[in-house]
Symmetry: C2
């Protein structure tokens, strides 16, 4: 009974989905609400639920049902079945003791990383990071064998199903070739006009929060199915029908928090736009981290850091913070120039749109070489710093500002970094297609009407969930395969005065 | 290998404990943080984790291990094993379809209750409440058969392990006999002095919250392992090492929220004082709802609504809210009289210390008769109102102010009400014993030093967790079996001027 087998599978996966929703709330709470003394107990609860999901997913009955299940070709059911098989292979290929070893190594290394980063002491991180890398390579090998992928592709596939190194390498090679000239051109172009003068604060946090909410709602965030809160590191989390974003506020700079809120709102709109009928099933989840990042960067980089957006937002911001109408710092032009300023720096999360890919390229080159074994971990700082120097012309003064800055590697998230820049590329391509498809989309942005844009994204991206691969979603949405054309045109146009 | 069997059991129960911690946070979040649109999804997640706990607890391996497991008589291990057996019997005795039917009936009835209460329409509640009562009686019969208890005792045992109707009946009969005279005496006694004049507000919520936190910390609440937040109905929830209490604020009355915070702090101190080494095991949990309520009422009724407490608190409160030093409304005497005012009313949760037991007596008589089948549900309003009239002399004008006011019955919590008054009785007995044991305890209260009191409670109650029965804990702590002597003396002394 292949149809019954499929139906039984949906029941098991719905159960996993509901536990994952619980985990989403527990994870959010950990970063937003939890008192410090509960860290150990919370880690135990989260680990217990993770293991339960793993047990349900790898139980013998799932393999039997997957063997027998069938669904009509081309249907959502068929896509769901394919995602079930992918999830099963990712989970079942990893022996329980490796799951455990990976999780423990990552916990130990994250702890060590907090101290090592503070002290800028890479040597102190080396033993635990070495263990994480070893377990990551073990994981990559067993997953790769099960999925028919190279080890690094198996890691990538965890975050961005279907994306392979063969897709990324040519794109990143092109960027590596063009980026130094682009950065130089952008800086030269910007040097021709005076530096923007920023409005002077303080900008009280309650007002910043109020503006953040207003922008979220304008972009289409449904406050009945989500929240905005504060955490040390901004993120989008939560659960189905309960998408929670966070930001952090500085009272002398409202733009950082606002752009952060808009970025996370892009992620949240994707989650809120996933098809309700498939919400507990694998096919109903967001397609992958590249497409996810394309949604956040579309809202932040393509929309909010644009001149038309600032034409609408500048007077609202000025009024909200009580700025003088005559103060040129509050003009749309000045705010636009402030949020598009190009300045090479050491810290990835503070990087502007033009220099950001340099940070990703270096990390991608490092992690592929580390996973391949062509770079030894002890040589990472030197290689990392050389990479930054080559692309940004900066001399990294210490590892705190270098290879110790990100939590990804210590926490075991290898294969994640390239999705940031793949997302930026897709964001540009999607924005270009949307603008061409409906003139109401660009004209709406300048008037604070984002409904046409959201409608287009709902139809072409959000509602597709994981029914197609990322390239097929892009092809269907834009009429073309994923390419860097729109991205490069966008950067040249915005930063180098190209038409 | 009886010792191995016991160890294996602790592993299974630790897993359940960790899922229960997750449920504690999800439940807190539902009432404090969750956006409205997530209600259905959250209910699914909570139900899924509840079912998982039930599956783990009733798996065949647990019965086998319980058959074989042994632990040294009198040890914590032996008490743990006994609690495991009790938990197993409570869970395994109920067939899965009855668990499901009960849960669905309660969900439907809770929904119907919200509307029925608003409209004061008992007839509208009757069908779903009838279903809840039927399923409750089914549950009581099967649990009673497994535990060797009468149906109502089986319900009681869910909330207050070991407490039986035979323990409650004589205590409540005594109260029923004495209460009307006590209420009359208290009112006559209070009528001899002018009514207290309350300080006039508004009392800004942030200041109320600040005072609430200050009092919590003074009483010994560990903010590193807990939180204070706002919810529609105050409660104490959360998880191990993460005890979360809530309150609600009215800006024209700070005393209600403050007394609420102190009440929930009493619950929270019990949870925070449970033995860390046993935190994931059944024996490491709070003993039962009577003892739990004794801890909240000890802090609220015995301590905070006392004159010595107000000697300490009144100047702090006056200063916090900017009251004038000369304003007699801010005197310790006035505030003390305000928080001990006796006034019969319709609503249980608003009742004073003297009339509160009347509300419980009526509910206890109703629910025992309904479970026994000697009262028909359609006759509940009339019987309820007759009960209130008999004890408080009030004529209930509508069911909103009568039998529709509480969520307990609609939600399936039958057998819970008596624990409120049993808790009040134990609170008085424990307070009396503590004051006798160490003169630093009463003298500390008048100076805002609650450490001696908390130390005594930690030693004699909190650290005992579920190692002994409630009566045995009381006996060990106070040197006497549970009795109403201290409670009646306390009420006579505080409210009737008896020495």
């Amino acid at each position: 009974m292949p149809q019954h087998a499929y139906t039984d599978l949906t029941t098991h996966f719905a159960r996993i989905g509901r536990i994952r929703n619980a985990l989403g709330i527990l994870g959010w709470d950990k970063d937003v609400m939890m008192p410090a003394g509960a860290a150990e107990s919370r880690a135990d609860s989260i680990a217990t639920l993770d293991v339960l999901c793993h047990e349900i997913l790898t139980a013998p009955v799932i393999a039997e049902l997957l063997d027998r299940a069938e669904a009509p070709a081309g249907s959502w059911q068929a896509a769901n079945l394919q995602e079930m098989r992918r999830a099963y292979l990712h989970a079942a290929s990893v022996p329980a003791d490796l799951v455990d070893a990976m999780s423990r190594a990552a916990s130990r290394c994250e702890m060590a990383w907090r101290a090592a980063r503070r002290e800028g002491d890479f040597a102190a991180l080396l033993p635990t990071l070495s263990e994480v890398l070893d377990r990551t390579r073990d994981l990559a090998v067993v997953k790769g064998a099960a999925l028919g992928l190279s080890p690094y592709d198996a890691l990538l596939d965890q975050y961005d199903p279907g994306t392979r190194r063969a897709d990324i390498d040519p794109v990143f090679a092109e960027l590596r070739r063009d980026l130094p000239a682009l950065i130089a051109d952008a800086q030269a172009h910007q040097a021709a006009t005076p530096a923007p003068v920023l409005p002077t604060g303080p900008f009280p946090v309650p007002l910043q929060e109020q503006m953040g909410r207003r922008m979220m709602m304008a972009l289409g965030f449904d406050m009945e199915r989500g929240r905005l809160d504060v955490s040390a590191h901004p993120f989008c989390g939560g659960a189905e029908d309960d998408v929670r974003i966070t930001t952090r506020y500085e009272d002398d700079d409202f733009l950082a928090a606002l752009m952060g809120v808009i970025h996370e709102t892009g992620h949240a709109l994707y989650e809120q736009g996933l098809p309700h009928d498939w919400r507990t099933q694998p096919v109903g989840q967001a397609r992958g981290m590249s497409l996810h990042e394309s949604q956040s960067l579309l809202m932040e980089m393509q929309v909010a850091r644009s001149r038309p957006f600032m034409d609408w937002a500048a007077p609202l911001l000025r009024a909200a913070f009580g700025g003088a109408e005559a103060d040129p710092a509050w003009s749309a032009d000045s705010l636009y120039r402030a949020v598009t300023r190009v300045r090479p720096g050491f810290i990835r999360v503070d990087a502007d749109e033009v220099t950001y890919p340099a940070h990703v390229l270096v990390r991608y080159e490092m992690e592929t070489a580390l996973v391949d074994g062509t770079l030894a971990l002890r040589d990472l700082p030197e290689a990392f710093n050389a990479g930054i120097h080559g692309l940004l012309g900066l001399t990294v003064p210490n590892d705190r500002l270098g290879c110790l800055q990100d939590i990804h590697w210590p926490s075991g998230a290898w294969g994640y970094f390239p999705t940031y820049t793949m997302g930026a590329i897709l964001a540009a391509q999607l924005r270009q297609a949307a603008f061409r498809a409906d003139p109401a989309i660009p004209s709406g942005i300048a008037q604070g009407d984002f409904a046409p844009l959201l409608g287009w994204l709902r139809t072409h991206v959000h509602s597709q969930a994981s029914r197609l691969s990322t390239p097929d979603i892009i092809r269907a949405a834009t009429g073309a395969a994923p390419s860097t054309d729109a991205y490069r045109a966008h950067l040249r146009e915005r930063y180098c005065g190209a038409e």
